[in-house]
């Protein structure tokens, strides 16, 4: 598997670190790691340069994860980039909404490293 450029979007810096660790534990080699505290910051990050993988929370201030995924469709740098939601919002409507907007996976917090591996690795090998 090639090394990837990942973007982690979460308003909690602690959760961003945990997701980063889970990615490394899953065997993902990170060529570059970028972070954003909400959807608006993430769009600004993507306007600078592209990434290979996006992991995104839903419940965030300023711009939530669902709005971010919706707006990604207009971003050149994000075309074809897999987005996986990592969130405490576990309701079916959130899952359906996120997947219908283009997210490729959905992981509920709390999660195990194995769950991250299961959801992420197939997307990077595709």
């Amino acid at each position: 598997m090639k090394s990837v450029r990942a973007l982690i979007v979460d308003d909690s810096s602690v959760m961003r670190k945990i997701v980063e660790r889970a990615l490394r534990q899953a065997g993902v080699e990170l060529a570059e790691l970028r972070e954003a505290g909400n959807g608006a910051e993430a769009l600004a990050v993507l306007a600078q340069s592209g990434v290979d993988l996006i992991l995104c929370d839903i419940n965030m201030p300023i711009m939530d994860g669902l709005e971010f995924v919706k707006r990604l469709k207009d971003m050149k740098n994000a075309t074809g980039v897999p987005v996986v939601m990592i969130t405490t919002e576990g309701s079916e409507s959130h899952v359906v909404q996120a997947l219908s907007m283009g997210a490729k996976g959905y992981i509920r917090k709390p999660f195990t490293p194995d769950q991250v591996k299961e959801h992420i690795l197939p997307l990077l090998q595709a």
Binding site: D11, S12, S13, V14, M15, K17, I18, R21, N59, M60, P61, T87, T88, E89, G90, S91, E92, S93, H94, V96, R108, K109, P110, F111, T112
Partner: protein, 163 residues
Amino acid sequence: MTETIQSEPKVRSHEEMYSFLEIGTKEVFSLMLGRELEAGQESHSQPGTAFAAMVGLAGDICGVVSVRCGQRAAERIAALMLDLPPEKAVEHVSDALGEVANMVAGNFKNKLNGKNDGCMLSLPTVITGADYRFRSLSVESGMELQFSFENMPLIVKLELYGE
């Protein structure tokens, strides 16, 4: 035709909610910190609370989930979550406890509602300091769970608002 997921909220007993909150809290500590919570003792009811993290619930049920603990426990939680030595974890304590409260409330909500979309979570709020009181308005019922986290007291409280 659009399929609707919303359904009538299921009425839950106090015992069921207690169980969901207890299991939900234990899962967060087990999965995210690699630590098993033990039952707390009555003498632990006042942990010399230095940190209280709160998350609001709004929807089928309305209320607040709070997680309270002392300084040392909060630092240990941050250190375990981030895999850092305690001295380096200090600056992340509020964020870590807020995220624990967020996951406890979310896990509780998901167990309570299943796949139904009956409840929203607020962003976490964290209060720091030993000498404070907070009071939620219109509290109809509630429950307090006392845990022991590495022999330090940790309290999880659910307060439910009336109509």
